[in-house]
């Protein structure tokens, strides 16, 4: 005979309750309950340390971007002035023949300025590490929060069972929340080796899309 969904759910919770009790007993017998409590106590600290890292790296990235903005403006001024110098040398009759080194130096300044600007662009782009590492840190912080919540629940449940042999209430067990789309997103790929479900660079993205006719 088919069970009603509610009865089925109750049975699952009762089984989970028995497992929790067995786990609690095992932890007590092995002397691990204080260790578990210690782990739960340390998780908020671990989370705040990760958030501290994320904040500091973010601040550092912003400082670099501010300096890059300033340096780029100064480089642009150097480039413009070297262009003015080149124009002036060209406008004075015979100067570029009389003092060819002036022309050469001005051109070198201009080319150097352009190369420096390209380097600054690379430095700016490299600050995207904050986005990539920040996403990974956010995921680890969320994971730590989930583990903390579940371990805490386990401790509370075990403590309650130690005082009373009453069956656990379904609401007291932390059922996993339905996955949101954001949690389903994988974020940056930390270990791409051996994986075939991810791309590792832009050319693979382009190849994949081209193979599908996009």
């Amino acid at each position: 005979m088919d069970q009603q969904p509610h009865e089925h759910q109750t049975e699952i919770f009762q089984r989970l309750g028995r497992i929790t009790r067995q786990l609690h007993d095992a932890l007590n017998e092995l002397g691990y309950t204080p260790v578990l409590k210690g782990a739960v106590d340390e998780l908020p600290d671990a989370r705040s340390r990760l958030q501290y890292i994320a904040r500091l790296t973010g601040d550092a990235a912003e400082k670099v971007l501010n300096r890059v903005d300033e340096a780029k403006a100064e480089q642009d001024a150097v480039r413009q002035h070297s262009q003015q110098l080149l124009d002036t040398i060209g406008a004075v009759p015979g100067l570029k023949w009389a003092m060819p080194e002036l022309l050469e130096w001005s051109q070198k300044i201009q080319h150097g300025s352009e190369r420096t600007d390209a380097h600054l662009t690379e430095i700016m782009l490299a600050q995207d590490f904050h986005d990539l590492t920040g996403q990974v840190i956010k995921k680890v912080v969320a994971l730590a929060a989930t583990i903390e919540e579940q371990l805490l629940q386990l401790l509370l449940e075990s403590a309650a069972q130690a005082q009373s042999e009453a069956a656990p209430q379904p609401a007291s067990l932390a059922a996993p929340a339905p996955a949101m789309r954001r949690e389903q997103l994988a974020g940056p790929v930390v270990n791409p080796e051996g994986r075939t479900d991810v791309v590792t660079d832009q050319s693979q993205v382009d190849d994949l899309l081209a193979s599908l006719g996009f």
Binding site: L125, D128, H130, R182, L185, P188, V189, V198, V199
Partner: protein
């Protein structure tokens, strides 16, 4: 090419700033920013934009949801949406393409990649 107005959508301010600076270097100085899909959609519906550069992994409304909303809106569906994201799973790339994204760039990326993708999209748009 006409002067284009960009909307840069990313929950990380550093990334928004980087994309904005890159666009400026490429010659596109008119850009606004949004920190998630909800803010982006509000700005798109209340302003005039020609191009959207969007991250995927964002709070409140992610890039996929934003793309869906844009393509379902008669007034916005013509907008090209370039996804710039750390999401590197093939299924996400395919989903974005099938959802109507005009292009897909994985982070970290280079200025040359952004320039190339923009040029491809501009060409398709006849700009």
């Amino acid at each position: 090419m006409p002067e284009l107005r960009f909307l840069i959508v990313d929950d990380f301010s550093t990334m928004r700033r980087i994309v904005r600076n890159l666009l400026k270097e490429i010659g596109h100085t008119d850009a606004d920013e949004a920190e998630d899909g909800v803010v982006a959609l509000h700005k798109l519906r209340n302003g005039k934009f020609d191009f959207v550069v969007s991250d995927i992994n964002m709070p409140n409304m992610n890039g996929f949801e934003l793309l869906t909303q844009i393509k379902a809106d008669d007034k916005l569906k013509h907008l090209p949406v370039l996804m710039v994201t750390a999401e590197a799973r093939k299924e996400d790339i395919i989903a974005a393409a099938q959802g109507g994204a005009a292009g897909y760039i994985v982070k970290p990326f280079t200025k040359a990649t952004l320039e190339e993708k923009l040029a491809n999209i501009f060409k398709k748009m006849g700009w």
